[in-house]
């Protein structure tokens, strides 16, 4: 299996081995080894939860840097809709777009525009017969990866439609080449301004074997600080936003779903809630639902770890910004009345790629499970984390499957020492 490239990593110097992140990782990807955190890349979904939890800023998200992108290339900024919610007293998105041009981008293409087109196709998809309800959104890469690793039965519930970032990247490049026939495709650099490391990993790894149309992913907070120094209120911006209410509303939880005009939907945000909902759907609960919107971050993308502003404040700001916008500014061509353009569909089916299988052979797997159960029952069930595993149960798995020594459990060791010490005196 090809190694998955991640965008969440550890700063060794800063990590104190404090176990805060250990307990909050939704996939139990973290262990403490030799006094610091280690991430198991097979199961990490780049959700950013550990970054959020680390009190020492030892976990970081890795992005490309604007300065490193060759300025001889035609650099197109793709701001995520959540970007607009970051600015104090912003009353018009055009200032942000102008600011992006002023810091050196040659062009801007709003991801919100692509989101509006995807919304139209999603509405069409929802009218189809024989689709498995509930349909699950595909926009959050952390959620999609989680589903492929853990929810076999839900893989084909994920809407087989590329996320807006992909469509935006494609159209942006095409438009640039049309505007500037002198450019070659490789002269264009499509740069996504991202709220999260999950999107960076998505671009790095490509999706379902296809290379992304986006070339670079930069951090939203990075660009934010560059922008506030150049944004001038008194100069009317030349750039003009082309997104409507719908595109903007994708930034926070429920926005994507509510734009479908279908009230049989559920929107859940925050990775723990997402897992809970997926478990319930997989068990056949929620029969009435037709669409499920899941976002790994609290509040949706406005809660991404690379944003600057508190998600609730960003959401309110976006609501104010949306108020006087048309419902949507990006609709399908008149003659586009059925089917889907190839580029917006998944190139192939989403595939279940389980991790954590104990063994290929059932008998061996059962033996291991039985050992783990036995060991887990004998551990103190304190989930103290001193052994470096998030729970006693996970530690039992590490001992049986990963060859860790039981002596690393301090409670177990203390008892052993006590019996050793007591024995002679008892006679």
């Amino acid at each position: 299996m090809k190694q998955y490239k991640h965008s969440v990593s550890l700063d060794l110097e800063k990590c104190k081995g404090c176990t805060n992140c250990l307990k909050r990782c939704p996939t139990e990807a973290i262990r403490i080894r030799d006094g610091h955190a280690v991430i198991n890349s097979d199961v990490c979904i780049d959700c950013g939860e550990c970054i959020r939890r680390c009190p020492y800023q030892a976990k970081k998200a890795n992005f490309d840097h604007f300065e490193d992108i060759d300025d001889k290339r035609y650099r197109i900024a793709l701001p995520a809709p959540s970007f607009y919610g970051q600015f104090v007293d912003l009353d018009d998105v055009d200032y942000v777009l102008q600011g992006l041009l002023d810091i050196g981008f040659d062009d801007v293409f709003e991801v919100a525009r692509a989101a509006e087109i995807i919304t139209e196709y999603t509405r069409r998809y929802m009218r189809e017969e024989n689709i498995g309800y509930p349909v699950i959104n595909s926009a959050c890469p952390a959620v999609v990866r989680l589903i492929t690793l853990r929810f076999p039965y839900l893989c084909d519930h994920v809407i087989p439609m590329m996320p807006p970032i992909e469509l935006a990247g494609k159209i942006a490049r095409e438009e640039a080449l049309k505007k500037h026939p002198e450019l070659k495709p490789e002269d264009v650099a499509v740069v996504f301004i991202s709220p999260c490391p999950a999107k960076a990993s998505y671009v790095k790894n490509g999706f379902l074997g296809e290379k992304s149309h986006v070339d670079y992913v930069v951090s939203m907070s990075d660009i934010y600080f560059k922008l506030i120094s150049v944004m001038k209120k008194n100069v009317a911006p030349k750039a003009v936003s082309q997104s409507g209410m719908i595109g903007m509303s994708w930034a926070s939880t429920g926005g994507e779903a509510s734009a479908l005009f279908n009230d049989k939907y559920l929107a859940a945000d925050g990775i723990e809630n997402v897992i809970h909902v997926l478990d319930e759907i997989e068990t056949g609960h929620f029969p009435m639902l037709q669409f499920v919107e899941l976002n790994a971050c609290p509040g949706g993308c406005v809660g991404g770890v690379a944003t600057v502003e508190n998600p609730y404040i960003a959401r309110v700001r976006l609501q104010a910004l949306r108020r006087y916008l048309p419902v949507s500014q990006n609709r399908l061509e008149k003659d586009d009345s059925e089917g889907y353009p190839e580029e917006i569909l998944f190139p192939k089916d989403l595939e279940y790629r389980p991790v954590g299988k104990f063994d290929e052979d059932l008998t061996t797997a059962m033996q291991k499970m039985s050992e783990i159960e036995g060991l887990a029952a004998s551990l103190p069930a304190l989930d103290c984390g001193s052994c470096g595993a998030p729970t006693c149960r996970a530690f039992a798995e590490d001992v049986v499957l990963g060859g860790r020594s039981i002596d690393e459990c301090i409670v177990y060791m203390r008892e052993r020492i006590q019996t050793l010490v007591k024995c002679p005196g008892e006679e």
Binding site: Y133, F358, M369
Partner: protein, 155 residues
Amino acid sequence: MAEALRFHYEVDGDNFTSAGAASVEVKRKLRQLGFDAELIRRVSIAMYEGEINMVVHARGGSADVYVDKDCVTIILADRGPGIPDIDLAMQEGYSTAPDNIRALGFGAGMGLPNMKRYTDEMKIETVLKQGTTVTMKVYINHTKQTEKGTSEEGK
């Protein structure tokens, strides 16, 4: 040969929010054992329905799941009111669920029929005022021909 694995859960009848937790736990274990998606789904749906029934209709009970190399066996035992007429209870759409439970989306009278549909064998033993024990088996390897259910049939 490894002997059967046994997993035991107490299903709390007073805590509706934790209903379904044991089935999620079992699903996780079956995944770790490497079973295919279809088997895991059948077991977890059948167990989920039975677990909910114990909470809704019988104030809780216990769940035991046995896994051996041929089969997964689920035994759900409660000390609830018992089922007066099993044939009637097995009918699709028959339900005695109270309104507050219906408001949560339960009470379609599809639980028992689904348990039967998703398992290879199902046996209900019940004594009025004493309790009910439901035993279900799903065989490994020779998957019963179930319609590949969408969530709609799931409940």
